[in-house]
Symmetry: C2
Subunit: 242 residues, 2 copies
């Protein structure tokens, strides 16, 4: 039975790190809320699960993955569960622990990115928190992008195999998430990121290497890849891009 | 060899969910930055690791745990690694996946709590973001506390065993973290939480049951439990407690 993946049909959001893994692995999956038969928007499939108060294993929020009897929520948890089954996890326990640690750092970064345009509350419109967003985004660009990017750059530089990937000789799922981070920062903060990206040559090389892999390239060129927009985690607002 | 735990010596912070697990399990561990021989403050032990740019498996930030050759960072990842070894994880894979999912939701909540007093930037003083904090905290109290607390209350109510714990018949590590959430919210938002806690009787019962366990009770009464203060994740500022 194919994996059933549940995430909002109109954004990349927190679900995109999972979509990238499913696509790179080339496995059979259903993006439930985007079924063509539902005119590409079947949000009710998500809401029915979120609003079912009788569940013993409810997800707090999408994304979540259904694999037979198992439902797994939280993007990093999904990847930790899924990657060994689809050939995207490293082999040893120590490496798997490190891969998950990196993915949790990506999770933190995505929340920081989200809060550049929603520093006061997710439930409020961006337009109601623009001034606070300007302050938060300026700090994010000055301090947080270099801290995160420098961290990953150091790991790539110190990989004893010099493979260009984060762990060992082969691509693993956090590499796909770093592609997404570079792609997202470029979209959201084109001016700021253009001034920074020369400091992170291995991150840029990793991004380019992921984009060139056949399965991922086919995905990125397809309609399955939802374009960036101002509803997702990465948003481009010129006033936040100093 | 005892586990070596690294976290800031002056706060509970993100490390406390791990300290609670180590203490409840009664295992041998060293809280490295709080060694008595270092006059209870050995922050340099943390900084030396964070600043060592030659590492192949660096932590992004504390907390991290050293277990022989393995270093594990990110609190939820530490617990996922540690709990099966110290008797605090559920038995089946599906239950372990769900325990970790809950712990990641706790991680998200702790970041939301932190951002009630640091909505603009962690690197700035609270005093430089008080007005923004008031807005964020008001929204957090009105919308986010009920959403998170209601989620856990529903899981406790739907546990088929009616054990009072989140998963199955026995305490597992996310139960300890829910204790910490109730304890922290009571400290940080005493007025607001007093108006809400009657809605979550099972959460309060869980909190009390954790506090009464002999190992945890001994820990809470000891000097090893750092008091809440206005340096950690949970902070009491009267102006944020509507």
């Amino acid at each position: 039975m194919p994996y059933q993946f549940y995430y909002w049909p109109m954004i990349q959001g927190r679900g995109e790190v999972v979509r990238l893994a499913l696509e790179e692995a080339g496995v059979d999956y259903v993006d439930v809320a985007r079924l063509p038969s539902e005119q590409e928007d079947n949000r009710n499939a998500i809401l029915e699960i979120l609003q079912d108060s009788s569940q013993t294993r409810p997800p707090f929020a999408p994304p979540f993955l259904v694999d037979g009897d198992v439902t797994v929520a939280q993007a990093a948890n999904i990847l930790h569960y899924l990657a060994p089954k689809i050939g995207l996890a490293p082999a040893s326990e120590a490496d798997q622990v490190f891969a998950h640690q990196l993915q949790l750092t990506v999770t933190d970064l995505l929340m920081e990115v989200h809060d550049t345009h929603h520093p006061i509350a997710s439930a409020l419109y961006y337009e109601d928190q623009v001034e606070e967003s300007k302050k938060r985004a300026a700090n994010f660009i000055e301090h947080r992008i270099p801290k995160h990017m420098g961290y990953y750059e150091g790991i790539l530089a110190n990989n004893p195999t010099r493979s260009g990937w984060l762990i060992g000789e082969d691509l693993t799922y956090p590499d796909l998430s770093l592609f997404q981070i570079v792609e997202g920062l470029r979209y959201a903060f084109p001016n700021a990121f253009a001034k920074l990206d020369g400091n992170y040559p291995q991150m840029i090389a990793l991004h380019d290497a992921v984009a060139a892999r056949p399965n991922t390239a086919a995905y990125l060129a397809s309609e399955r890849r939802i374009p960036f927009n101002t509803m997702g985690v990465f948003r481009h607002y010129p006033e936040l891009d100093s």
